[in-house]
């Protein structure tokens, strides 16, 4: 292990790992990386899936391992942690802005006592033209974390990252 490594420096390295499905975000700002710990000379990274069936989890784990090896941490372990359910609340404001610029309408609120407004009752602004003349097409999009909308303003479909 490289000398003078701390949990914070390792976490910074992991910010170089992109989310394979939303490459404008890294796995730390997505909230997928829950913790980095040093156990003697081993690095232990805990990750949690956004959705139970997220098919990208294997790819994410591999990418984290490669990054750790690249930075000299050959002795490492990546564990999947189910004890705290992932929530879109963990996506930072900065990351939400990145999502919008990428063309995905970001989560539009933070939970109150673990609950969000029903998707059907929401007004989601179009990430392209900012119009609120939009309608929900389907509660499920190309991946479980997104829903499909259509914008009447610019006549384009777009995806919304759901609040969960």
């Amino acid at each position: 292990m490289p000398a003078a490594s701390t949990e914070t420096t390792i976490l910074d390295y992991l910010k170089e790992v992109e989310d394979p499905e939303i490459p404008v975000l890294n796995v730390v700002e997505m909230g997928i990386v829950r913790s980095v710990e040093l156990e003697e000379d081993r690095v232990v990274v805990r990750i949690t899936p956004t959705y139970s069936g997220c098919p990208a989890m294997n790819a994410i784990e591999q990418a984290i391992r490669l990054k750790l090896v690249e930075k000299g941490f050959t002795n490492h372990q990546v564990r999947t942690d189910y004890t705290h359910a992932w929530t879109s609340d963990w996506i930072t404001d900065e990351a939400r802005e990145k999502l919008r610029n990428y063309g995905i309408a970001p989560p539009d609120e933070r939970s109150i006592e673990g609950r969000f407004t029903e998707l059907d009752e929401k007004v989601i602004a179009c990430p392209y033209c900012n119009s609120i003349e939009t309608r929900l097409e389907s509660k499920f999009g190309s991946t479980a974390c997104k829903a499909q909308f259509f914008c009447e303003g610019c006549r384009q479909p777009f995806e919304h990252f759901k609040c969960i």
């Binding site: 899936p49 959705y51 139970s52 069936g53 997220c54 098919p55 942690d81 189910y82 004890t83 705290h84 359910a85 992932w86 029903e118 998707l119 059907d120 097409e137 389907s138 509660k139 499920f140 999009g141 190309s142 991946t143 479980a144 499909q148 969960i164």
Partner: protein
């Protein structure tokens, strides 16, 4: 101290069974939903059903992985999924029912998810942090499954004469599998006594109310409860169709048991 260890040993076997039941429901229904992939009535529905299948299979993975840990005999989630025969599966017979038409699939999902929303709401407060975490994650997903299937029950029930008749038929045909949702035996009794899992009888009034309300809104009739009700899935009694499902799901892994990919 000795007493504590004794009581721990007493509940690990039923807890393993309990996790297996939860996991198998999701594995089998998830596989059924995956059979729709590429055949959905429209693109959005194809995606929705594939997403629901993925959620369920993901939940199954977490639950079976944990079941293997609790069992302590070194079985992984893959060992449990691919190397058990039908008599060792603990899923509800509701979950294994073949897909039928789109309405049948939707009715099955609605009955299953409405029950599981109520169950997971309670399990998310389970003192075991691992199960509580899996439950609270699954609950978020299950709420989407309820809304999705409920929307379709309303649309088909209150749609054309044909769609109404077909989804009514689906509920009529599925009804005999609904009593099993509330089936309990010594596995539940031991864990209930331990104060850790909900008494399923307590969920039944709320489930009835939610199902009745949706059926009414959809202009559908609730089928008669006073009919033959199938049970047995929880102790390994299954219908012939589960065998075919397992054959398809397990054959590759069994043909190449040492393969890694």
């Amino acid at each position: 101290m000795q007493h504590l260890e004794h009581s721990k040993a007493d509940t690990s076997k039923p807890f393993f069974e309990y996790l297996l039941r939860l996991g198998d429901d999701r594995l089998i229904l998830g596989h059924r939903m995956s059979e729709w992939c590429g055949y959905g009535p429209q693109l959005e529905e194809d995606l929705a059903m594939a997403n629901i299948a993925l959620d369920l299979i993901g939940q199954a993975k977490a639950l079976l992985e944990y079941a293997g840990e609790v069992e302590g005999e070194g079985r992984s989630e893959d060992d449990l999924a691919y190397f058990r025969d039908d008599i060792d599966f603990r899923n509800l017979q509701l979950a294994e029912q073949p897909n039928g038409d789109f309405g049948f699939t939707i009715a099955r999902q609605f009955l299953f998810s409405t029950f599981n929303e109520l169950l997971l709401e309670r399990l998310q407060d389970h003192p075991d942090r691992q199960l509580a975490g899996i439950a609270s994650k699954s609950l978020k997903e299950t709420r989407y499954h309820v809304r999705h299937s409920r929307d379709w029950v309303l649309r088909l029930g209150d749609g054309t004469d044909e769609s109404n008749q077909r989804i009514q038929q689906a509920f009529d045909d599925l009804w005999m599998y609904t009593a099993e949702l509330f089936y309990m035996d010594e596995v539940d009794e031991i864990l209930i006594k331990d104060g850790k899992v909900p008494d399923l009888k307590e969920l039944q009034p709320e489930w009835n109310e939610r199902v009745n309300q949706t059926l009414k809104e959809a202009t559908l009739q609730r089928p008669d409860d006073d009919q033959y009700m199938a049970t047995g899935g929880r102790v390994g009694f299954h219908q012939e169709e589960l065998g075919y499902l397992l054959m398809e799901m397990q054959f590759l892994r069994r043909s190449h048991p040492e393969a890694e990919w």
